[in-house]
């Protein structure tokens, strides 16, 4: 790093603060897209949902404390346990770690913000609107009541009339959109937005974990979104995907749900594991033992979790061979998990542990999670699984894993990062008392619940009779659960009080070795005054004055004369500086787009389909404005990044951030399409009332249109990359129209999607093509308008559109082939 004169740090701080700060008025909260603000809001809202979920848990335990309780009737109880699971899984667990990632990841990586700040803000607001809708519905007594996994036929219109199930399907799906938006942002940030010199082997361990988790979100959520789409279209329009008499199969839902639901458990656990691997070495005053092995274990666990979904379906009559496949895969999970656990124990062994509050919570994690893991191995064994299926044993197991494996480490993380997030240190000491209330009470509660399950108590039953041996166990569990709840309330109170009135202190109070602690406390909106240059995995240990040099502007991009938000893009493997990213300023666009997106999801709840259409038009218009206002107006060429390096602005490169974001969004889209093909194949192979009365026979014209359309759509962007003029865009437009016409031939030939699951599937395949053609047309409109306004088509824009066009052409052909081939060969 180059040396700068004294006084530079303060000047730089003032200038960067002016550039990066949100509007100081109230509207600043609505228009900010800075990761510090978005992360704090995310965290506060997720905590609020945790409290709501906790109150629901107490209602459940109050009801089960005594046999024959009159506290709640079955209708209310069904809503309460469904909402408890839904709130904790979708509104607390996932958003809470996303909040921490949004808040902390840029600091850990040595960058100033996430890759797509507006996308992060959009994700936050969609989550707030969707989550609020679900809670409001609950307060109005309109909650879903079919359990958090909503199995049909119980959740179908015949057995769950009213809008409860629709609230779940539409509200939760909108929140999943938020999660996918955040995941795209995280993946691109970890791969591209890092400190100079931060190669993959020098990345902080949390970045590896959150990278794995973000990819898991992109690949696990789409099957769930598809399942929700199928069930909602069945409930609203009668498309019979899960109705056996019309060619459907309820087991299809279970496959789609658990294709999401099992990885979901690891999506929740792995960020907590990342926090443990971050905090533990600092508490032990050493480095993480077996960094490479832990990385390999995180990757292995992430992928393995996708091969376990059927172990939630062991009692559905699956043949022995299928059971054995998934039993074998389930036992494998213990291997990478054990590697992590032994790495952490070894880290404690080689260090000198200081018993601070975060460490205490980590010890609570060890004591709890290992037990949860062992009961998990028990459940992976098929005969035992059959015995305890749908009993309170499973309830206890999942709480050991989720509270022990997620909540305890996250509390440790909050206490550990509190100085960085709030600028305050613990002064009031309620946290220690809270720990000694929560952890013992947790074990008493769920040990009793384990035993009740082993004695045969079924889950999801609103009451039980005397004389079955469950009374004392349930009473003990309920009393202890209230003690645990008081403990959790004290944790929240302790953090709130210390946030408001704790002590102020110096940076890096824990003597940590990772970059986030090089920032001032609390972390300023711009993160780093200059982008750090690092030479090891532990930059603050190996370069103790690094924080001061960063503050003095001796890294990259310390020049504020361009008066805009800039950060560095590096090469994925080696961390070499490649480009300068220009990040967007504050804007109301994210909240407006989120409002329209949420309205388009939620309007069908009141059958206001017209409002949904209007909201979707709003989404398109706002998205066009968004893209237009973030696109550069002029070509800059190379800009001075400091240290004698001149780098291109990212938007002018061949692979701009939008290209990377599109790539990973299309990964999610591809998984969604794959899940659709899986569902089709599943029904074709397994569903009882197949084959349908008649298959669709393809005509020559639609086939020719599809082939020509796909070819034109794929060729257009390639031509645009090396040839000026309107020709390439017009070729793409013609390709879109031809492909759309080919897809339209399907519903025209089979006008009744309610007749059979096959017809409904054909409509969905055609819908997939129609949706992507529409997206391509919107992009073409944008590019055409840019040309008309005098902006030449950039290479990066052409390549980004090319990704979408190739995907539309490729999956369009596959979808149409899937629709036509059975008829062609019948």
């Amino acid at each position: 790093m180059t040396t700068r004169p004294r006084g530079t740090a303060l000047r730089l701080h003032r200038e960067l603060k002016r550039i990066w700060s949100p509007d100081p008025r109230f509207r600043g909260w609505l228009t900010t897209n800075n990761n510090n603000d978005v992360g704090r809001l995310f965290l506060a809202v997720a905590t609020l949902f945790f409290l709501i979920g906790g109150v629901l848990a107490m209602l459940i335990r109050a009801q089960l404390a005594t046999p024959g309780s009159a506290f709640m009737g079955p209708e209310a109880y069904n809503q309460v346990f469904t909402m408890h699971g839904t709130v904790m899984m979708f509104l607390f667990a996932i958003p809470f770690f996303e909040a921490l990632a949004v808040l902390l990841l840029p600091g850990m990586l040595g960058t100033r913000d996430l890759a797509f700040p507006r996308l992060g803000a959009f994700g936050l607001w969609v989550y707030i609107f969707g989550g609020s809708a679900v809670i409001v519905a609950m307060l109005m007594g309109l909650s879903p009541d079919g359990g958090w996994f909503m199995y049909p036929p119980l959740s179908s219109a015949a057995f769950s009339p009213g809008i409860g199930a629709d609230v779940w399907l539409l509200g939760i799906t909108s929140i999943e959109v938020s999660a996918i938006a955040t995941a795209v942002e995280i993946v691109v940030t970890v791969l591209r937005y890092r400190a100079a010199g931060m190669s993959l082997s020098r990345m902080p361990i949390f970045a590896w974990y959150i990278l794995v988790v973000a990819v898991m979100i992109l690949t696990a959520f789409p099957p769930m979104i598809l399942g929700s789409l199928l069930l909602e279209t069945e409930r609203a329009f009668g498309l019979p995907f899960f109705q056996v008499e019309n060619g459907g199969d309820p087991l299809l839902w279970q496959h789609l749900f658990w294709l999401f639901g099992h990885p979901e458990v690891y999506i929740i656990f792995l960020p907590a594991a990342g926090m443990i691997a971050t905090i533990l070495p600092v508490m032990a005053r050493t480095t993480l033992l077996g960094y490479g092995w832990v990385v390999a274990s995180a990757v292995s666990l992430g992928v393995l979790s996708f091969g376990l979904w059927v172990h939630h379906m062991f009692t559905t009559g699956i043949p022995h061979l299928g059971l054995a496949f998934f039993s074998a895969a389930s036992t494998l999970v213990a291997v990478p998990t054990s590697v992590m656990i032994f790495s952490w124990i070894g880290t404690l062994w080689k260090g000198r542990v200081r018993m601070e509050l975060p460490m205490l919570w980590l010890l609570g994690f060890f004591a709890t999670f290992v037990i949860g893991g062992l009961t998990g191995v028990m459940i992976a064994v098929v005969p035992f699984n059959w015995q305890v299926h749908d009993t309170h044993f499973v309830v206890a197991h999942l709480h050991y894993v989720l509270i022990g494996g997620y909540v305890f480490p996250m509390i440790a993380a909050i206490y550990y990062f509190q100085p960085l997030i709030t600028g305050r240190f613990r002064f009031f000491r309620l946290g220690g008392i809270a720990f000694w209330l929560v952890v013992p009470a947790f074990h008493v509660t769920f040990l009793a619940v384990h035993l009740a399950g082993l004695l045969g108590q079924r889950r999801r039953i609103w009451t039980y009779d005397e004389g079955q041996g469950w009374e004392l166990l349930n009473f003990i569990a309920s009393v202890a659960s209230f003690v645990m709840a008081i403990g959790f309330a004290l944790v929240v109170l302790d953090i709130a009080i210390n946030t408001l009135a704790g002590l102020r202190g110096r940076r890096n109070p824990w003597q940590a070795t990772t970059l986030e602690w090089a920032a001032p406390i609390p972390s300023p909106t711009y993160g780093f005054a200059s982008i750090p240059i690092i030479g090891s995995r532990y930059p603050l240990r190996d370069d103790p004055k690094l924080d001061l040099r960063i503050a003095r502007g001796e890294g990259y991009l310390a020049d504020t004369s361009r008066d805009r938000r800039e950060t560095l893009i590096v090469s994925t493997a080696k961390g070499e500086p490649l480009q300068v990213a220009v990040l967007p300023m504050n804007s109301p666009l994210p909240i407006l787009l989120a409002l329209c997106t949420s309205a388009s999801f939620l309007a069908p709840l009141i059958k206001a389909y017209w409002l949904s259409v209007v909201a979707l038009i709003g989404v398109v218009i706002l998205a066009l404005i968004w893209a237009w206002t973030t696109a550069p107006r002029r070509t800059e060429g190379l800009v001075d990044a400091g240290h004698g390096r001149h780098l291109p602005v990212a938007a002018e490169g061949a692979d701009p951030p939008g290209w990377w974001g599109s790539l990973f969004l299309l990964v999610a889209d591809g998984v969604h399409f794959g899940a659709l093909l899986f569902g089709y194949a599943f029904l074709w192979t397994v569903a009882p009332n197949w084959p349908p009365p008649a298959y669709l026979r393809p005509d020559l014209l639609p086939v020719a249109l599809a082939l020509a359309g796909a070819a034109a759509l794929a060729a257009g962007p390639r031509l645009a990359a090396w040839r000026e003029g309107h020709g390439p865009l017009l070729l793409s437009l013609l390709g879109c129209l031809a492909l759309a016409a080919a897809a339209a031939s399907i519903p025209l030939a089979r006008p009744t999607p309610t007749a059979h699951a096959y017809d409904a599937t054909l409509w969905l395949l055609a819908g997939h093509v129609g949706l992507h053609v529409t997206l391509s047309l919107i992009m073409l409109t944008y590019l055409g308008l840019r040309r008309l306004a005098g902006h030449p088509l950039r290479l990066g824009e052409a390549r980004t559109f090319g990704l979408w066009a190739d995907y539309t052409a490729g999956t369009g052909l596959v979808a149409l082939a899937a629709a036509w081939l059975p008829g062609a060969f019948a």
Binding site: P319, L332, V335, T685
Partner: protein, 100 residues
């Protein structure tokens, strides 16, 4: 990006192979399965192919240098783990009843 793909490849292939094996098992029990082909032979053949493919990936990862020793070590250990997992999860095809 190539490095990320190298790290992702072994387990992705494991997942695809595992799902394909499960799908094949479903197909052998369905009305679409041709009468002339013995289901167990097909399953064992597919499992052998799957394990061979994972072995090939391990060999290629070990033989081809990565940008750093760290990447080489992680990619090779992931490939070895995925090969072991493929062997372990394929074993049931040797003995268990297929459609009952």
């Amino acid at each position: 990006m190539n490095l990320i793909l190298r790290l992702a490849l072994p387990w992705t292939v494991w997942l695809i192979g595992f799902s394909a094996l499960y799908g094949l098992q479903g197909l052998t029990c369905s009305r679409h399965w041709p009468a002339g082909i013995e289901p167990r032979a097909a399953l064992i053949g597919a499992a052998a192919l799957y394990v061979l493919l994972q072995g090939g990936i391990l060999w290629a990862q070990a033989a081809r240098p990565a940008p750093s020793p760290f990447a080489q070590r992680v990619a090779t250990s992931l490939s070895a783990a995925a090969l072991a997992a493929a062997l372990w999860t394929s074993l049931p095809v040797l003995g268990l009843t297929i459609c009952d």
